[in-house]
């Protein structure tokens, strides 16, 4: 599917990629991790045919630089920093849909699923949207076409928990026929999304490992937390995760998307002195459906989540 053969890239005297050779197969979900300056973004830009380099990059046997239109038509890309585009949202959608040969309605539907209603913002310049809105729109554009490769740089960084859950579901729907390359500074941000981890440092691959995770991308965890006393910061954090108060601020219940559980536990660890009881159990989709009312405006009342 994707092959990097002896890829090297230098900027003036600085060698940013140093003889990288990698093969990534169909339906592999790869986390590309490493600190700042490790070479992740440069590798992605080489993959997208944006940089010149020594060596060879092939996507399905094709050169992304020489056969741009054919190759990039099958790649969905979400950048880490949204570009400061002054064009209105409607034009960005129409422009990318026209280039990718897709129906703009598909992008609208995906944005809607991610919780972004495009109708009131169609005439607004893209650059004026909030960080989360930009991210959702770029994800909708990337997923709203027949992409065979998804290249995403910190794709969920600006998403709220509900949107993250739906984003994971969207990826899960396409995981069988799509190769994903997800770049991140930290493994815990993307660990549950991937089945292979490639770590880069100083322009070299320093780790290439397969990951086994029994929880699918669409898996969900029912969670219940009891605390010793009510704390405003904790209540705010629970609200951000769409948890519902089922016991006068002392007992909370909600659903955590499987790929997000590590991040969720990282958040709860900040309140470890406050927590008296904690349960997290993988839930069947049916159970999750029953617990789904924990989304805002539909509080989960009196439902024992799990365990």
């Amino acid at each position: 599917m994707i092959s990097f053969s002896n890829v090297s890239k230098s900027f003036r005297k600085a060698r940013v990629l140093d003889d990288i050779s990698l093969d990534i197969g169909l339906s592999e979900r790869v986390a590309l991790i490493g600190s700042n300056g490790a070479g992740k973004t440069t590798l992605i830009r080489c993959l997208l045919g944006e940089y010149t380099f020594d060596g060879e990059v092939r996507i399905n046997g094709r050169d992304p630089r020489q056969e741009r239109t054919a190759v990039l038509g099958a790649i969905g890309f979400v950048p880490q920093l949204p570009p400061p585009l002054k064009m209105p949202v409607a034009q960005l959608i129409d422009f990318s849909a026209a280039l990718c040969g897709t129906d703009p309605a598909r992008i609208h539907q995906l944005a809607q699923r991610l919780g972004l209603d495009l109708t009131p913002i169609l005439v607004r310049p893209f650059v004026k949207l909030s960080g989360g809105m930009k991210q959702k729109l770029l994800i909708a554009i990337a997923l709203g076409r027949e992409a065979k490769v998804l290249v995403m740089d910190e794709p969920a960084a600006n998403l709220d928990p509900e949107a993250r859950k739906i984003f994971f579901e969207l990826l899960a729907e396409r995981q069988e026929d799509v190769t994903m390359l997800i770049s991140s500074h930290r493994l815990n941000e993307v660990s549950a999304l991937v089945n292979r981890v490639i770590e880069m440092d100083m322009g070299k691959v320093v780790l290439d490992d397969r990951v086994a995770d029994d929880v699918s991308l669409s898996g969900q965890f029912a969670c219940r937390i009891s605390i010793k006393r009510s704390e405003a910061a904790f209540i705010k954090a629970m609200g951000a995760w769409n948890f519902s108060d089922i016991g006068n601020g002392l007992e909370w219940a909600g659903v955590v998307p499987g790929p997000d559980r590590l991040r969720f536990m990282g958040m709860t660890s900040r309140y470890v002195a406050l927590i008296s009881d904690f349960s997290l159990a993988e839930a069947e989709l049916k159970e999750v459906g029953a617990a789904a009312p924990c989304v805002p405006g539909n509080p989960l009342r009196g439902q024992a989540a799990a365990n």
């Binding site: 830009r45 944006e50 990039l72 570009p83 585009l85 280039l99 990718c100």
Partner: protein, 275 residues
């Protein structure tokens, strides 16, 4: 073709929302309005009166403003977009590099030429309403001259944008190019000639290689066909081209220069790092 037009449309919409475009339109529309307001059509110079007097002044002013405006806004926009990460995203979409580069040029050309031309059309409309005679031949040639001037400096701007890796460098280079062209206008050359350092032929050749001087001389030729105001240089120019020949040269040479610079810019763009 579809990709080219999509990119051009994108650039047009981006430019229409940019502040530089509003100022640019205001400047040229404002010049025409002010020239009418100050009764320029009533004054006489070298036998010119009415709209031809206004057009002569308008093109002289445009020649002073348009090149630097086009150079700076083009390099700011193109190099600025690249620096801000716009290219990283938009060039990850399936658009060919040729369609992207030439589409940007097409869109920008429409945006920079229309206000200048629009101001001339406005002048003609006002003249028609006031019953002033319109010199259509002069209007046509000046329109062609403005179209060529815009193309020439847009091409140079795109070349500078392809060469420079940052907005600051691109702006500095654009300003330097404009300053150099300004320095080699005939006044400086005449000064050099007076000192006897160069032959008149060399000085005139240098002047004719300078698009700013070419436009200036062509605009002068319309109301001073013998180019008396140019002094001895006129003999070399008229011997070489003749009046009509020079008018054709003034349209052809800057066009070739602009397209040549843009083509070189495209070759550098497609062979280098895009973002």
């Amino acid at each position: 073709m579809k990709q080219l037009w999509l990119t051009a449309k994108l650039d047009i919409v981006e430019s229409l929302r940019a502040r530089w475009f509003q100022i640019y339109t205001l400047v040229f529309g404002g010049i025409v309005a002010l020239l009418f307001l100050f009764g320029l059509t009533e004054s006489r110079v070298l036998g010119f009166i009415g709209l031809s007097r206004l057009l002569v002044t308008y093109i002289q002013l445009t020649m002073a403003i348009l090149p630097i405006f086009v150079l700076i806004t083009t390099v700011r926009s193109v190099a600025g977009d690249r620096e801000a990460g716009v290219y990283e995203y938009l060039l990850s979409l399936p658009v060919s590099l040729a369609a992207w580069f030439w589409g940007k040029i097409l869109g920008r050309y429409i945006v920079i030429f229309l206000p200048v031309f629009g101001a001339m059309v406005l002048a003609v409309l006002i003249a028609l309403l006031r019953g002033i005679e319109v010199p259509w031949g002069m209007f046509g040639y000046y329109t062609a001259l403005l179209a060529v001037m815009a193309a020439c400096f847009l091409g140079l701007g795109m070349l500078i944008s392809a060469l420079a890796r940052s907005t600051d460098m691109a702006q500095g280079a654009a300003f330097l190019v404009w300053l150099t062209l300004l320095l080699f206008l005939d006044l400086i050359l005449l000064g050099v000639m007076i000192q006897g350092k160069v032959t008149p032929e060399v000085a005139v050749t240098v002047a004719l290689a300078n698009p700013l001087q070419v436009f200036r001389t062509a605009a002068l030729a319309l109301f001073d066909p013998q180019l008396i105001v140019l002094g001895p240089s006129a003999y070399v120019i008229l011997d070489l081209f003749g009046v009509t020949g020079y008018k054709v040269f003034a349209l052809a040479y800057p066009t070739v220069l602009g397209i040549g610079a843009a083509t070189l810019g495209y070759q550098l763009f497609r062979r280098g790092d895009l973002p």
